[in-house]
């Protein structure tokens, strides 16, 4: 009897935890169909209007476009620079490696408020106007540490003998890198880029410190929260969710097919 309880207790706790995790997401989705008017606080009936007219509420779509722009640029910058650092750290020896390591880890161990506040102090000191540029810089910096950690794990898991084998087959170091190492790193780099984009797109605290009057999507929701968030924000949130879900599911299915194909060979 005791054994039986033991077998079910973990799935039971985990099941409740999954519900806890997913309830707000379901709530956002359901309330994207609410015939809400200005404040989307209580259920007033089902409508498709919000989905047909996602830019209907003022400033929702502008803030979304702003967030997408910041996210794309910050992702490109942080992924490019972070990948270079990750490869450099694992594959090459040079002085100041320890210092570099500390500089990479420290932003990860620093709460966002402090990152945001210190950058704000810097920008105030430099006299830079807060806006698009300052947010892109802030996002690039904090995303880069995550890129480095993700890609570095991938680089260290590569077998260095692969490059040696390429060299034995008369490949130049450059060709060995481009044809052997880099293709093997691509999944790690893609994962890092997706992570960067997600973090940049969803960031509120650092953005709030360094954006001035520039509106991003999370900032728009936070500001609107005091008055009531328009249902269109739920539409955009749900649409982003579905898109990301599809990307991940398709990616998983493709990876699964590839594995199957390789197993058959």
């Amino acid at each position: 009897m005791k054994q039986k309880i033991g077998r079910w207790i973990i799935p039971a706790i985990a099941g409740l935890a999954f519900i806890y995790l997913l309830v707000p997401i379901a709530y956002i989705f359901v309330f994207s169909f609410n015939d809400a008017g200005r404040t989307n606080l209580e259920w007033r009936g089902f409508t498709l209007d919000n989905w047909q007219n996602p830019c209907g509420a003022p400033a929702v779509c502008e803030s979304l476009v702003n967030s997408l722009q910041v996210g794309v640029v910050a992702t490109i910058v942080s992924t490019a620079l972070g990948t270079c650092i990750a490869i450099g750290l694992v594959r090459y020896k040079f002085r100041f490696r320890k210092l570099t390591d500390v500089l990479i880890i420290l932003p990860l161990a620093t709460p966002e408020v402090v990152l945001g506040a210190s950058l704000l102090a810097q920008f105030l000191n430099l006299g830079w106007e807060l806006g698009y540029t300052t947010i892109v810089i802030a996002h690039s910096v904090f995303c880069m540490s995550f890129v480095i950690v993700t890609v570095r794990a991938r680089v260290s898991s590569l077998d260095p003998r692969l490059e040696e084998a390429a060299a034995d087959l008369y490949s130049t170091p450059r060709a060995a890198f481009l044809k052997v190492t880099f293709p093997l790193l691509v999944p790690g780099i893609v994962a890092a880029a997706l992570l960067s984009f997600a973090m940049s797109f969803d960031d509120f605290i650092i953005t709030n410190f360094n954006s001035g009057t520039f509106q991003t999507f999370p900032k728009f929701i936070y500001v609107a929260a005091t008055r009531g968030i328009p249902a269109q924000a739920n539409v955009i949130g749900s649409a982003m969710f579905i898109t990301a879900l599809l990307v991940v599911v398709i990616g998983q299915v493709m990876a699964y097919r590839k594995r199957k194909r390789l197993e058959q060979v």
Partner: protein
């Protein structure tokens, strides 16, 4: 070092050919080129800003200065002033973050264990649950926090039901309480706890559990003596990834709490920067927060850290 020998006169002779040395130098240069651009970004927009923050925390406000006007100084009293006023908020932030971390561990471990170990033979279900684990990352965290606020609102279904069942007094609230803030923190950082533990348990060799079973260990003993110690690095990473952002968070406190019993230090820093325009005070509080977290994390790593992590 194997390329050098000590000669009789005590000098170090290099046994490598000139070409080899050149290749080595070239390699070192490539490494530097790869690292320098990103490192510059980190130096200019992380290391220097932290120094600027430190110096700003010591600025003084001259007599009769206008709002937002400060002069560089070494005003250490700034620290005493802000700590004197805001130490309860600092302590509360760490308290909330600690409770949220423990709760996230208690909830998150069974989730990670179910997906990584129990469902190992069920690829499809495992894949679906894994996607559900990262699903929160696909949706805006402020929207989700706001959703909690509405779910727990006074006129909402949950509060009404709890009042009906007399679990909650008729004039009680769920939002604007420390309970709501801690629940929000736990919720928002739960995936950061689960994913490292999941990654770790995914590598668990289940034959070890069979072996401990063969040695007459019950399931509980097997868990506490085999599974849990082996997953320690995952638990360690998860607790850090939960505690650090939770301690500095203020979105949960602002949306789900927003009264004096729930103020977290991030809110104070934000309002001193933007509402009170007290840059030195805000900078001092930020610096105290950063330093306390670094100290706590260092102690934690020393005490429980494993080599695998560093």
């Amino acid at each position: 070092m194997s390329n050098t020998v000590m000669t009789k006169k005590g000098k170090i002779a290099d046994l490598r050919s000139r070409d080899e040395i050149k290749a080595e130098r070239r390699k070192e240069r490539t490494g530097v080129y790869l690292v320098v651009p990103g490192l510059l970004l980190l130096l200019l927009f992380f290391a220097v800003p932290v120094m600027v923050l430190l110096s700003m925390s010591l600025y003084a406000r001259p007599e009769g200065a206008s709002i937002g006007e400060f002069v560089p100084a070494l005003e250490f009293r700034n620290y005493a002033t802000v700590l004197g006023s805001y130490w309860p908020d600092l302590l509360r932030s760490f308290g909330f973050a600690l409770i949220a971390t423990v709760l996230a561990l208690l909830i998150g471990y069974p989730m990670a264990y179910l997906v990584a170990v129990r469902l190992r033979q069920h690829g499809l279900l495992q894949g679906i649950l894994l996607v559900l684990l990262i699903a929160p990352f696909f949706s805006s965290f402020i929207l989700r926090t706001q959703a909690w606020k509405q779910i727990l609102a006074d006129e909402g279904f949950v509060a009404q039901t709890m009042k009906f069942l007399a679990i909650l007094p008729a004039d009680g609230h769920l939002t604007a309480t420390p309970f709501a803030v801690v629940a929000g923190l736990t919720y928002n950082f739960l995936p950061f706890m689960v994913l490292p533990i999941y990654a770790n348990l995914g590598r668990l060799d289940t034959r070890l559990l069979e072996a401990s079973g063969d040695l007459y260990a019950g399931p509980m003993t097997s868990f506490f003596r085999v599974t849990l110690p082996l997953s320690a690095p995952g638990v360690f990473a998860g607790t850090l990834l939960t505690f650090i952002p939770a301690a500095g968070d203020y979105v949960n406190a602002a949306l789900l709490g927003n009264n004096r019993n729930t103020t977290m230090i991030g809110q104070v820093i934000d309002s001193r920067f933007f509402k009170v325009i007290d840059y030195p005070g805000a900078a001092a509080l930020s610096f105290v927060l950063m330093l306390s977290i670094l100290v706590l994390v260092t102690i934690y790593i020393r005490r429980f850290g494993t080599k695998e992590l560093m």
